[in-house]
Symmetry: C2
Subunit: 365 residues, 2 copies
Amino acid sequence: MSQRQSERTVPVKMSDVARAAGVSLMTVSNAFQQPRKVRAETRERIFAAAAELGYIPNLIAGNLASGRSRVIAAVVPSLRNSNFARMIQGLTDHLEQRGYELLLAVADTPERQLAAVTTFLGRRVDGLLLTGTEHSPEVHSLLEAARIPVVETWNLDGPFIDMVVGFSNYEAARALTELMISRGYRHIGFAGFEPRDLRFRERQRAFQDALSAAGLRNDLLFFGSESLGFSGGRVALDHLLGREPDLQAMVCVTDIFAVGALFECMRRGWPVPERFALAGYGDYEIAAEVPPGLTTVRTRGYAIGGVAAKLLVEKAETGFVAEATHNVGYERLCRNSFFPLVGLWPALAREGDARCSRAGNSIVL
Amino acid sequence: MSQRQSERTVPVKMSDVARAAGVSLMTVSNAFQQPRKVRAETRERIFAAAAELGYIPNLIAGNLASGRSRVIAAVVPSLRNSNFARMIQGLTDHLEQRGYELLLAVADTPERQLAAVTTFLGRRVDGLLLTGTEHSPEVHSLLEAARIPVVETWNLDGPFIDMVVGFSNYEAARALTELMISRGYRHIGFAGFEPRDLRFRERQRAFQDALSAAGLRNDLLFFGSESLGFSGGRVALDHLLGREPDLQAMVCVTDIFAVGALFECMRRGWPVPERFALAGYGDYEIAAEVPPGLTTVRTRGYAIGGVAAKLLVEKAETGFVAEATHNVGYERLCRNSFFPLVGLWPALAREGDARCSRAGNSIVL
DNA sequence: CTGAAAGCGCTTACAG
DNA sequence: CTGAAAGCGCTTACAG
């Protein structure tokens, strides 16, 4: 048991540094906060004393005195979802750069979200990032009262509490479905999540609108839990084939389902896209790698986190941002999981279509 | 621009609640901290006033006064790695239960780790979780001086700063390699990460030791960057086949490489495991789903996070824990990516081997 | 069961 | 360029 003794040593305080440097407490504070207000020589003496003593400023005390915490909080429903992991990465990268820190809560129910938001407010965070744009009335009124900078994410459909960074899930899903229809598929199913979240409902609605606009049947829907993971694709395929044996293709609410369905096709010995076609959503890392390449929507999680960080810090520091709404957009990445666009590459390249570029094994639309 | 006005409303303070309830400030404090010290009737009046005013206790002030933050901090190198995501999930789940919060830093360089640890200490966190057991001398001396509870994770090889939760990477990788050897493979390669991290070096050493103990060639090594993702498996396969055309199998430092190699085999039309065999590490979700199923080591990230939370909170509150070292163990999950064990199922079941159980499409050893 | 007082370790105008 | 003083919003012994 090599456990360390726990008699906490008393941390060095600013007053200790002041004494050691032979100056007053507030000159030390100034040396750290507004270095140019302190004569270079004095400053050096203070820094030397601080280093010597191993002084680490007590940020808690500083927060209380200044009323600013330099902490931004975020609530995400899950870290298993790599979109959110990317967003957090974008957030931390940008916050770190600006000297802020991240208080993170993983909360997948309204109750846990409310609890997280409450303690975050108690910690007087300088700003808050929320996943999605649907929150309980309690969360709304809490944030309404607190009036700290808030960014909602991953959607653009209001009303918003304060600011928003996202893109239109409806447009993205509709464009992808239309692309699939344009390739000639007629019996197309949808593998979705139980429509708890607005973002998921919008993808479903976009799918159905696109099919009905093309005069196609749009009721081949499957809804599974997010926790199914890859296996959701298999279950969806089984279910929809049971209802429509001529099913040709499936649009999935997430790459995870799409890849799961792809695996199921492999097991059945069904070539993709010849025997069955698939489209995903999210451009998870695996989408580019799994043969024959998954056509999907690339969303910009990292950018969402980065822009959110920028907005939150800016508003925390100046009380104002020029634009409270940011559309980070999306892209369709065309690979070979449905009727190959590959044949189009030379033609597209010749046309020099600005909206189209090759990136690795994909066409970007 | 529906941006909200940013004139921060002055938050309700404890003294406001006291006035509204007609009691003193400290009776309010007691009502929240030690409810039983306050008469039920008074308590109700205070809670009613607090709810009425929308009072949210200022935790910053509370921290400063009490010297305890109820915040635990964690440093992970990445969230893209689902092992770490799982650990964070285990950590937050347990911390939430005990009324603690998580301050998270994603830091993949010694500099960023040092910066993160420094500000965490500045925030006077009650405990700190570190990923891995190798840290810069600066981090060591900082934590040595601070004497707060620290848990290092994912390994059991000391020396440690304070406490550790993990398992033996060496044993896990060695056992897996030996299993592969026992199935008759002779030309086996290793697809690893650049050996920056001790955990990775140990897996490599275990691989090499197992081969040389079996009298086999153990120098077919590839080292790629973690950032290669799935594509690392393809690159490794190309590289090692270039050096040894008779290569039969590859042990990978991560499931991601193994699955990438599996995809490459598909592209080449090589049946797995008949033409080529693979073993992974980590039991990522995809390992169970990708045909024909990836044999791998299951690590217990969620448990690591949970046990770490327990230790940190316990030590923060009592200054002591019974065991400073926790081995959460590992399991080998045998699927069909190398010479099937499936044939063994009936035999194993008959023997009633306690170490062996079926779980889904896998044998657990 | 309730309350007056000191103090946690900083920052922030404001003087000198 | 440097410093004395008040205050941030709580908690914590300690009296009454």
